[in-house]
């Protein structure tokens, strides 16, 4: 035995060599047997790599290093497996959507554009989505924030508060199509309301509200009780304490929660199919007449199934992703701007 303190360690180039070996072996197996497809080959290469590395490391470095390397590799490959679908999705949408995505696409409607011919645009749907989501936000934000304030500041574990909490949880799990069906049966069929952008806003409100209540509740809970007590001790009434001390402290997180709920509902398709009437023309009035939205625009273009309309559907998907990224970005900026200065 040598007298050095460190045991033997695998050389630095081993990982690269082993990876190439595994990929080579996997490709060989793919070509000689009937295992096929990129997914199968990748999985095979990863498994081969794990087995070979553990065996090699075990014989050279001993058990502790072998287990350490095994788990490090498992954790890295899990991260790649989790990020891969997102990366592929974004690549697909950008790759296929970029062809139609231009200024003309953003500034024109689909009025009088044949499904089989290129041209036209998403403007009418973009406008519809902004209006519908905007109205939904206007309704859901005050109700959601006030509910959360009641739960945290007034109810304090009371019976009514518990019931409200329970129902908010139930509402979080309501599938979006059910929200659409509710508006469809309650407002459109019963009261004979016209299918419109506003009906869509109402169904989106149902989906937004629980998200806002939950996010705001969590933010209000982490406002230190010392701040409230200090304010109350100075003789300031509770409503003023909430308005001037509690809300400003939590405002960054609340705005983030609101923006996240906006991003969540902007891509909802199911409730819109029941509550709006699809239009190919611009309609800036959400209260009357057919109005398009981006998700229904994408759905409509896919169901036409011509090469030109599929291009438009991809460009529409790209627009939707960009719009939601803008919402997220704005949320981050606002949250940073309003964050309490330490």
């Amino acid at each position: 035995m040598s007298t050095q303190l460190r045991g033997s360690i695998l050389p630095k180039w081993f990982a690269a060599a082993l990876a190439m070996l595994s990929i080579g072996a996997a490709l060989l197996i793919e070509n000689t047997t009937n295992v096929s497809g990129i997914g199968g080959t990748t999985a095979l290469a990863v498994v081969l790599y794990l087995v070979l590395q553990t065996a090699w490391s075990f014989t050279v470095e001993g058990r502790r290093h072998a287990v350490d390397r095994l788990f490090a590799t498992l954790i890295y490959s899990s991260f790649v497996a989790a990020a891969l679908p997102l990366a592929t999705l974004i690549w697909q949408v950008v790759h296929k959507g970029i062809a139609q995505f231009n200024a003309n696409f953003l500034s024109h409607s689909m009025r009088s554009v044949s499904p089989s011919k290129p041209g036209g645009g998403i403007y009418h749907a973009l406008l519809g989505t902004l209006e519908q989501v905007g109205i939904a936000t206007l309704i859901a934000v005050p109700i959601g924030i006030l509910t959360a304030i009641y739960l945290v500041e007034y109810s304090r574990g009371g019976r009514l508060g518990k019931w409200i909490s329970f129902f908010v949880d139930v509402m979080t799990g309501v599938p979006s199509i059910v929200a659409g069906l509710f508006i469809y049966t309650a407002f459109i069929l019963t009261f004979g309301m016209e299918r419109s952008g506003f009906a869509a806003s109402l169904s989106l409100t149902i989906l937004m509200m629980p998200v806002i209540v939950r996010a705001t509740e969590e933010m209000l809970k982490i406002v230190p009780a010392d701040l409230r007590e200090a304010s109350l001790a100075l003789g300031i009434p509770q409503w003023k304490t909430i308005l001037r001390i509690v809300l400003p402290t939590a405002i960054g997180g609340i705005i983030t929660g609101v923006m996240l709920s906006v991003a969540r509902v902007a891509g909802e398709t199911a409730p819109l199919l029941l509550t709006t009437f699809l239009s190919q023309s611009i309609n800036s009035n959400p209260f009357a007449g057919p109005q398009a939205a981006i998700p229904t625009f994408i759905w409509d273009q896919i169901s036409s199934a011509t090469p030109a309309s599929l291009d438009r559907a991809w460009a529409g998907a790209l627009t939707l992703i960009l719009l939601i990224m803008i919402f997220y970005g704005t949320a981050k900026l606002i949250a940073r701007y309003y964050a309490p200065k330490a």
Partner: protein
């Protein structure tokens, strides 16, 4: 602090307003409105997805000729279309099948006590599309088609198929059949043809859902067409327009009077020969799917527009009449063939025009 907020709000509002102002409905590239523009107002219609692209092209032509008019057609399926119409959400419905008695009762309420009428407007042909290397011409009769789709015949070189195709070398390969996995009017009309022509071979139930055992399902006409295109030795039933767009080969159908190629013209003959089973201006059709004249293609479907004969609000009624008059015109009907649809022709078209003229 206050100033910054006001500035942000102002910028936000200004952006929204400018966004509202910059969009355009004009996709024709010219700004001059056609002179003598007549109809104006807006119509809503929904229903059959089979006539979606035909309707889209008609609406485009109509709106271009009448810039004041806006028509929106939502292809949410025949059943939903009829329901929307009966709930007064739309001004007319597109449907693969005429109104059922209970739907007609509800429609009469919607039309303030008057009858709703079925007007056949768009026809379609269902092709038996196949993909066999080296076989450019294939003839099938109802019996062999039924046997293939129910799994009684499993090889392309089966004696029953070979007997219909003398001179064609068929491979000794297993037949892969494709059918619609979703509920569809195509399946309904295809099985109606099988039941009408060969009830002894095809003993299963018809309807919108495929019930025969075996074969592979694919969603939508595009799904079936692309499955056939990518699978060797396969066959499936799909609308003629998809055969054209996917560049597939379609079998000739021999109902007993000679093989007929699947073309828009041959299918138009079958539709024109249909008898009207509705009363008055209701033109619901009974199609003779056993036609044996050697010139009519027998596997067809017809989609209807359903609207009130009388009883719509005056403005809506005038616009529906004006639009349907356009869709029944020679110009609109002849445009159907190039999109893979089948035009309404002959006496039937005359009856359609009379029914549209009676709308008030």
């Amino acid at each position: 602090m206050k100033l910054t907020r006001i500035a942000i709000a102002t910028v936000a509002i200004a952006t929204t307003l400018s966004l509202t102002a910059c969009g355009s409905d004009n996709n024709s590239g010219s700004s001059a409105a056609p002179t003598g523009a007549g109809a104006s107002g807006s119509l809503k219609a929904s229903g059959s997805s089979a006539q979606k692209n035909a309707m889209a092209d008609w609406i485009n032509s109509f709106q271009t000729a009448n810039p004041g008019a806006t028509i929106d057609y939502q292809a949410n399926g025949s059943g939903a279309g009829v329901q929307d119409f009966n709930n007064s959400q739309t001004d007319f419905a597109g449907s693969d099948s005429p109104l059922k008695p209970e739907e007609a009762t509800a429609a009469a309420t919607r039309c303030s006590g008057n009858n709703a009428i079925d007007i056949p407007m768009v026809g379609g042909a269902i092709a038996l599309a196949y993909n066999i290397d080296g076989v450019d011409s294939l003839v099938l009769d109802p019996k062999t088609a039924a046997a293939i789709f129910t799994g009684a015949i499993t090889k392309w070189n089966d004696p029953a198929i070979a007997a219909l195709n003398s001179g064609v070398t068929l491979p000794n390969a297993t037949i892969a059949t494709f059918h619609r996995s979703d509920s569809s009017g195509t399946t309904d009309n295809f099985t109606k043809w099988l039941i009408a022509t060969t009830p002894s071979t095809y003993t299963l139930a018809g309807g919108k859902d495929w019930v025969a055992p075996g074969g592979q399902g694919a969603k939508g006409s595009d799904g079936v067409a692309s499955s056939i295109a990518t699978t060797k030795n396969s066959i499936g039933y799909v609308e003629l327009s998809f055969v054209q767009t996917q560049k597939l080969k379609a079998a000739k159908i021999d109902n007993g009077g000679g093989a007929v190629e699947a073309t828009s013209d041959a299918a138009a003959k079958t539709i024109a020969a249909a008898t009207v089973s509705g009363t008055g201006n209701d033109l619901s059709l009974t199609i003779d799917r056993t036609v044996k004249d050697g010139a009519s293609y027998p596997i067809v479907l017809v989609t209807y527009e359903i609207t009130c004969e009388k009883g719509l609000a005056a403005a809506q009624s005038a616009l529906v009449k004006s639009f349907l008059t356009f869709t029944a015109s020679d110009e609109a009907q002849s445009a159907l063939s190039s999109a893979g649809y089948v035009p309404i022709t002959g006496d039937l078209l005359t009856k359609v025009r009379a029914a549209v003229a009676a709308i008030s």
